[in-house]
């Protein structure tokens, strides 16, 4: 009996036992499909969260005024402390630390912005040109705030795409138009590129004006809201925090770091916190996936074992008619392989399609976990092949009569 004949016999047997084939195949399809879909979605959400955080700025360290450790005394509300100044920022800049690549002093307040009859409530940022480097801002049209705008105390504004569409409608380039912040007219000099994101901290719903204009003309304040630093690399983040932190302690004449009148947090802190949360989430999904794989596997196993009696008799008959043990075992093995590979491919396509549909539906990046595919196919084909092959091997070891009389 040659190989082609063996394959065609196997297909024939699978076709003749439609119910068994369908049930075992279903177990494989569901097991593999579920694992691929769930793990891919878990990874997609993890990646989506990481992308959003990274969008805040590369290697970002934020210095906020006021202490976060309640080291005694009454703490002011977050953002109400006034301990950071523009000079603090400039001294960090002037120190030229190798660990720090950019320093961005910032002032921010929420305020009403109007343009003609339209108005919106948005976050106003007083910034220097360094803001773009620290926060990964790119321009869709026009230019960002320049040094000349800052030193000249100019009334110019760069707006985010959400603000642009709220005030001027979609598809209109508002460059050159005028908006009013606290009734003071500003000329729009540019619109930033959308970063996606939504809700609190939406980076598209912002208006940038020169730092000096924000302090003197709009908000009437001398301090700044925070200093954002960009560390030279991810490995420099801790060093950057130390460098900037000790300089500020010195400038503020504080000897005990525990008494610092400012606080720092870095993007890596957020990433690691959120990653651990999304990691837990992915593990949870993987757990559910593992259960579906197990259920699918038990399904395959059951259907293979339930048909063992009939199949043992079939093996006895085939041997009685002259099939060699090896031929019979090979045929059953090939059947199991066809079943699991076929079911595996269908399950894989189903799982990928499912993760694509769900990812599109809930607006996640579409990722495919090769690891999940490998694991799912490995486990279910392993089960399918072992439980297809092992009873066949056992039946082939019996004499034809024993196998024919098996019950």
């Amino acid at each position: 009996m040659d190989f082609a004949e063996l394959i065609s016999s196997s297909f024939e047997a699978l076709f003749l036992n439609k119910v068994r084939t369908a049930l075992a195949g279903l177990g494989i399809v569901i097991g593999i499909g579920a694992v691929i879909a769930l793990v891919s979605l878990g990874q997609a959400s993890q990646q989506s969260v990481q992308n959003q955080i990274q969008g805040l700025g590369a290697n970002l360290v934020t210095i906020s005024p006021g202490s976060t450790q309640g080291a005694g005394g009454v703490q002011g509300g977050f953002g109400s402390a006034t301990t950071l100044t523009y000079d603090d920022a400039m001294s960090i800049q002037a120190a030229n630390y190798p660990s720090i690549s950019s320093v961005s002093p910032e002032v921010s307040r929420r305020s009403q912005v109007t343009a003609g009859k339209n108005n919106t409530n948005t976050q106003i940022y007083g910034v220097t040109p360094a803001y773009t480097a620290v926060h990964n801002i790119t321009m869709n049209s026009g230019t960002f705030i320049t040094n000349a705008d800052v030193t000249g105390n100019r009334e110019v504004a760069v707006i985010g795409p959400t603000v642009a569409s709220d005030l001027f409608g979609d598809g209109v380039d508002p460059t050159g138009q005028t908006i009013r912040i606290n009734k003071i007219p500003f000329t729009i000099i540019g619109v930033t590129v959308s970063k996606g994101g939504s809700g609190f901290g939406n980076q598209d719903d912002m208006v940038f004006i020169p730092l000096t204009t924000a302090q003197k003309t709009v908000f009437g304040m001398t301090n700044i809201s925070d200093i954002s630093l960009s560390a030279s690399s991810a490995n420099d983040i801790t060093q950057a925090e130390n460098d900037a932190g000790y300089l500020l302690l010195q400038r503020h004449k504080i000897s005990d770091p525990a008494q610092a009148d400012f606080s720092m947090f870095s993007q890596s802190d957020i990433i690691s916190t959120i990653s651990s949360v999304t990691g837990t989430f992915t593990s949870l999904l993987a757990g559910i996936a593992a259960i579906s794989l197990l259920v699918g596997g038990i399904g395959i196993m059951n259907i293979m074992l339930v048909t063992v009696i009939e199949r043992t008799r079939e093996i006895g008959l085939r041997k009685a008619l002259g099939a060699k043990d090896s031929t019979v075992v090979q045929q059953f093995l090939i059947e199991a392989i066809i079943l699991t590979v076929g079911g595996g491919i269908v399950g894989m396509v189903l799982g990928i399609a499912l993760s694509f549909v769900i990812a599109t539906f809930i607006n996640l990046p579409f990722t495919i976990s090769v690891y999940a595919i490998g694991l799912a196919i490995g486990v279910s084909s392993g089960i399918g092949i072992i439980f297809g092959w092992y009873p066949a091997k056992k039946a082939a070891d019996l004499s034809p009569i024993e196998a024919l009389r098996y019950e």
């Binding site: 016999s9 008619l321 002259g322 060699k324 034809p400 024919l404």
Partner: protein, 232 residues
């Protein structure tokens, strides 16, 4: 051709021993037509299975064509079952959900005969046993007698030198039984060796010799004197 001596088969189940065959010896010549008769449970099927290389005796020797069967490898036994012996089972043992045609063709699959040739020969054989209009019926769509005839056609498919039939006429009418026996007779004329088990003396009468078995032992051997025109 078939030479068994001191053959015994003992089934052990827990502490209970069943002696199915007890020291049986006989010789069947090439081209001979032998019937085996005996009461139910006397060990006829057990004996046939051993002769058919489907089962092994507990003790004794079985020489087939000068070869000691107990010394053959599993693959050699498979080859013998495929090419040398055609077996008609008492319980038919057809593949379920499979057409009569494919059932008859199955031994030829293992002999490596091409699909076209297999199907052609299977069709011829089924016509010969009177099932030319039932080629694509599966076993559940056939009557007992029809299944039996499919089983006979299958036993003939490899044109084996020895045909072993375990009650091949048990489920069919007397008229059909006569037809089947004529097929066996013509096979014998072509030089095939035939051993068949039966309960009916009228069927045994087609053979040259009847071996009577009782309680696993040979009770008596009867020469039929070519009553129905068997032999050469």
């Amino acid at each position: 051709m078939i030479d068994v001596s001191h053959l015994s088969k003992i089934y052990k189940m827990d502490a209970v021993e069943t002696v199915a065959l007890d020291n049986v010896s006989f010789f069947i010549k090439k081209g001979e037509f032998v019937a085996i008769m005996g009461p139910s449970g006397s060990g006829k099927s057990t004996l046939m299975h051993i002769i058919g290389a489907l089962d092994t005796p507990t003790s004794g020797t079985y020489i087939l064509d000068g070869q000691d069967v107990s010394k053959l490898s599993k693959d050699q036994l498979a080859e013998i079952r495929n090419k040398k012996i055609g077996f008609v089972f008492q319980a038919f043992n057809l593949l379920p959900r499979t057409s009569a045609l494919k059932n008859v063709a199955l031994p030829m699959v293992y002999a490596g005969i091409s699909k076209d040739e297999r199907m052609k020969r299977a069709e011829e054989l089924l016509k010969e046993v009177g099932l030319g209009d039932r080629l694509n019926h599966t076993s559940s769509q056939l009557s007992g007698g029809q299944m039996q005839r499919v089983a006979i056609a299958r036993a003939l498919s490899m044109n084996p030198a020895i045909i072993l039939a375990d009650e091949p006429t048990g489920n069919i009418s007397t008229v059909q039984a006569e037809e089947i026996m004529k097929i066996f007779q013509s096979l014998q004329k072509q030089g095939h060796t035939i051993v068949l088990i039966t309960h009916e003396p009228s069927i045994a009468a087609f053979s040259q010799r009847t071996i009577h078995i009782k309680d696993g032992k040979i009770d008596k051997v009867e020469h039929n004197g070519y009553k129905k025109g068997g032999g050469h």
